[in-house]
Subunit: 384 residues, 2 copies
């Protein structure tokens, strides 16, 4: 049996074609709110159940419960606000119980029934989500650009789910069908925003050895400068999967959502999302979803103690390295040898090699992966 979605029910808020037609024919009567592509993708995540049990953007009660208790008002664990922000003049044009149309680039995305419109406090949001109000933190910095009101309410999707990478896009309903077809009961999810080195492969295969299937689920969406570009991550993972993984027990599809860099809070959020995709287990490494030195390297593991009811089992890995005495990849639980026997999988060494157009050592990265990355003239965000 595949794990149940968070909250027990996989949310589906995609309207049928007839419903869609009916609403769009009344479109002129509704206030239309233009949203950016990133928000439109969050609407799609809500509608396709990626964010189950959310059925829309957070209302005031859920929003405050999350910040205060890391839970929805229903009691289900939730750690990252999924909110629709508007500025003051726009807020003034809407009221409770209105139905509005969310539109992106002039195309209708969803209808939304407004539950409430409420002012929010920057410091409260930032401190409780990111653990800091420091505006050099990329998540905090972005929060600074938000409008001063949040609009809460359920959404109904007026489109078909779309993706810039349709060959790698599956909704939770589709991943669950796929896992069932493959007769996977236990599935370990792996989050990534990086190209794969041998340490990642080691972690994934260690976990896969204990479950039925591996679900590699890169985060595709807005990232900070210096992160690998989405297509580089996908192409490099495809090379790895083609050459070093078994098709019958390894699947890759994408998670379209922005990185928040909220560390431990985002680790819980990432686990919940993977549970919705059908994962029974989720890998949490060192400094998951972290940035700079804002979080303790193991804070994103420790936080799981607060959520015994999460319904997805975290698998924790600490550091891993090549040990010359073990003559294999090892981690700090399996290897007793001193640090001078270790070769670290430092992302920086690999990155510096790649920037110079060189193939990193094969002890660090598969040749097929390196070659794929080097086919891209600009592998990093902001380097063109």
């Amino acid at each position: 049996m595949i794990v149940k979605p968070h909250g027990g029910t996989l949310i589906n808020r995609i309207l049928s074609e007839k419903e869609r037609e009916a609403i769009l024919s009344y479109r002129k009567q509704f206030f239309t709110l233009e949203i950016n592509e990133e928000k439109a993708i969050e609407v799609q995540n809500i509608a396709t159940g990626v964010f189950s049990p959310l059925q829309g953007f957070l209302n005031q009660e859920d929003y405050h419960e999350i910040l205060l208790r890391n839970r929805l008002a229903s009691g289900h664990a939730w750690t990252i606000p999924i909110v629709l922000d508007v500025d003051r003049p726009t807020a003034a044009k809407m009221k409770k119980d209105d139905t509005i149309i969310l539109s992106c680039g002039g195309s209708p995305v969803a209808s939304m029934r407004i539950e409430d419109i409420f002012a929010w406090d920057f410091a409260e949001y930032a401190q409780n989500t990111f653990g800091t109000t420091d505006e050099r933190h990329p998540g905090v910095k972005k929060l600074k650009t938000y409008g001063e009101y949040f609009v809460g309410g359920t959404v109904n999707f007026l489109s078909e789910p779309i993706s810039r990478y349709p060959q790698y896009y599956l909704t939770p309903r589709e991943t669950r069908i796929l896992f069932a077809e493959k007769q996977w009961n236990t599935v370990v999810g792996f989050q990534t925003r990086n190209v794969p080195h041998l340490g990642h492969e080691y972690v994934q295969k260690s976990a896969l050895s204990l479950v039925d299937g591996l679900f590699i689920n890169p985060v595709i969406g807005e990232k900070k400068n210096g992160d690998f570009r989405d297509e580089v991550i996908l192409d490099s993972y495809k090379a790895l999967l083609d050459h070093y993984y078994r098709k019958e027990n390894s699947v890759m599809s994408i998670l379209q959502t922005e990185m928040r860099y909220a560390g431990p809070k985002e680790a819980i959020f990432h686990a919940i999302v993977r549970k919705n995709f059908g994962c029974s287990h989720f890998i949490i490494g060192r400094d998951h979803a972290g940035v700079g030195s804002y979080y303790h390297p193991f804070a994103a593991q420790k936080i799981f103690d607060l959520f015994p009811d999460l319904g997805i089992t975290p698998i924790f890995f600490m550091s891993f390295f090549f040990c010359k005495t073990c003559n294999s990849i090892a981690n700090d639980k399996t290897c007793p040898h001193p640090a001078d026997a270790h070769v670290d999988y430092a992302g920086k060494i690999i990155r510096d090699k790649l920037i110079r157009g060189e193939i990193p050592p094969e002890i660090m990265m598969r040749k097929e992966v390196s070659e794929e990355i080097l086919k891209h003239p600009h592998p990093f965000v902001g380097d063109d």
Copy 2:
């Protein structure tokens, strides 16, 4: 929290010194039954809780429930009869509710209150436990030597727990104290009756990466000709642990019990015993506790489906090998490459090398382990 013992309570049937004195002073009034060392060790296992929730040798009801339903009359899973056999003349000397003394080599081992004395059927026992009545099967062959009656009843241990290898002997009460001291909540047990090659290390370390501690628990006791001698297993594991494992998360102690070679039934029994030692997880490899080709290689994994209430999580490994393309140890879930890229960890190749006094390739066995084995002039049972 360390996992609860099977049945909920760790059985302790070791009498206090005063109780012991009192019973021994009445010894002449009790019928004394001489048992062999192997049976005396089973009494010790019962008394120290290794076989919790058993409090003595099986009575007729529990015995039949096990053969028919793989459970005790209480409903708890149990798959291997723990019985005290006697011949007809001896049976005639005892009756229900008698207290008898079990003695080994002239020394009292335990008092036993007889619940029942019952005839048993060879074919029923053999077929339900070993899946065969073929007397070439070592477990069946041994069964053929049993007396025609079983004596059921609770035992009270009249001695201190002993071992031929005291430096490696811990009772379940002691392992649980040790695990608690080490702050292990999750512990994976590894059963072995072999010297360790790199495949074993790979399996153990893969599992250890996901839990707090590793409990290597070799079976020490009567084995068939050609198996490694107990002291060779212990010395070789000590070499491996000293050189390649971390002391703070790896412990070895022994399980003193005979191998039954009952394959899947014995796999469940082995898991229950490790649960009693405090293991939350237990590794089941290919053909666990099997012999010859009596069992399907994965029967000992499949059988766990019948015991969702077992209270210890099995971790299944299939075959593992060195893959020249992966350039690492791999298993049949993690490696997609064809068989000609694989070097098998065939016990036979290693054994043939060792018989000729040669060091097996380091790709198969750690040099420190090989050297330790070769220090023993007669490493195999029956080769002297």
